[in-house]
Amino acid sequence: MRRDVYKKHHLLRSAPRPTARKSLYTFIFISLALLTLSRINHDLIYSFRGRVIALAAPVFEIVSGPVRQLKGIWQNAEILIANTDELNRLRAENQKLQQWKWRAKVLEDRLAAYAKIIQAVERPPLGFSTGQVISEGRGPFLHSVLLNTGRKDGVRNGYPVVSADGLVGRVVQSGARAAHTLLVSDRNSRIPVEIGNNRMRAILTGDGDSTPRLTYLSKGSKIRVGDEVFTSGQGGLFPRGLRIGKVVISGQLYRVKLYANLGRLDYLSVLFFKTPGLDLVDDKPHPGSPSRPKRLEQPVASISSDKAGRSNNTTAAVPRVPERPK
């Protein structure tokens, strides 16, 4: 009897009211208007987004905790399943790395000696702040992640973001405790790069694929599959020599297989790379717009971390390609 009541109740659904349809059209119109404002990058949209991110970041930090733990368990299970093969591979890799370690040490000593002879100016160490990925941007427009490190930790818009494997992207919007990172695979990402030993220059262009394209290659470029790709430093937004990936060919296009696995990002470091070009992407506080990002008022080195999962240091273990004489 009761079951029949449910069934009948289920079938006797109410039709949408005419007022609901009217408000639907109104909200569709508002959405279109917002989309247009978004397209012209209106201040209103910028400040609105900043406020919501500031509110949402702590919630995501809490919610993503169990997800990260589950991911960790899953990854451990995968390692356990592929245990033997993985161990053998790691042993072989370790042997190779031991040899490389020795060679690197010899080269490092030699480089230090040469630098002393020619009185080379040392590159200043980069400060950095490390945070965890608490949210991933999904949709047709952006490939981005939200990090739980922000302006209070010294992060500014435009700073490069790296994982232990290589360049991942750059900060596009930073709140007090969170920073949106645009990944290199995103359609809006353009990074000046150098390729291989010949130092051929190109632009790494994101197109939504996990292997970004190499564009604006100069005529007669001699690029081979497997050539290393790293930042050229042109334009001033990225330091020179950050590792990105290796050249692969897909169809008729040169693409880059990234060292960093963008599908499995966890801890990422924001490099405090300060250049004059940064002012172009990190706006000054806008009069009448309190939510515009405020400038960092204290030196980066003096800012300390107060949360687990976030750390500040003055020198970064940046995955760089060693400098070669031209």
Binding site: S38, F48, R49, L142
Partner: protein, 174 residues
């Protein structure tokens, strides 16, 4: 006497929960990035047909805005996308006999084709370059195949025992 149906938060909370899950760092491959948003659109479709009073357009609009902000995408895209799904559901739900799994499934297939194409057009116009259709197609395709499961799960939530406060029918029987 018939009591006014009580407002249910079930649709809103289920959709909000899914939007949160869609943006958690699950590490899904790029082509799978549209699966959870497609599940959300399927749920909006089902809730809008069966409980239109509990999924008001302003709620869908707000949920879309939340998704836009969290994903760092253009504000208004997901609102427009989800409202279009709701519009299709309202159009489909005008006829009270359009109910049951099979008809809902057909309705959703029509809606998903229209809205996915619309989403692709909006993306292309916004970026001024041909948008990648693969993730959209994968998401829409997989959720279209799995629609009966979503329908069944949402049905379990919908068929929670009605009380006299939210069921006009029980009032009538009483």
């Amino acid at each position: 006497m018939m009591a006014a149906p009580a407002f249910s938060l079930k649709p809103l909370l289920s959709l909000l929960g899914l939007i949160a899950i869609a943006h958690l760092p699950l590490g899904a491959p790029a082509n799978a990035s549209f699966i959870i948003p497609s599940i959300i659109s399927a749920l909006i479709f089902i809730w809008s047909i069966y409980e239109p009073d509990n999924v008001k357009p302003w709620m869908i609009f707000t949920l879309g805005l939340v998704a836009d902000v969290i994903s760092s995408g253009p504000i208004g895209f997901w609102s427009l996308y989800y409202l279009s799904v709701q519009g299709m559901a309202f159009w489909f739900g005008r006829n009270p006999t359009n109910t049951g799994l099979l008809l809902s499934w057909i309705g959703y297939l029509i809606a998903t084709v229209v809205v996915t194409f619309l989403g692709w057009v909006v993306t292309t116009l916004y970026t001024m370059q041909s948008a990648d259709w693969r993730p959209m197609l994968v998401g829409a395709g997989m959720v279209s195949i799995g629609f009966p499961l979503i329908y069944w799960v949402s049905g379990v939530a919908r068929q929670a025992p009605p009380t006299s406060s939210n069921s006009p029918l029980l009032d009538e029987i009483a």
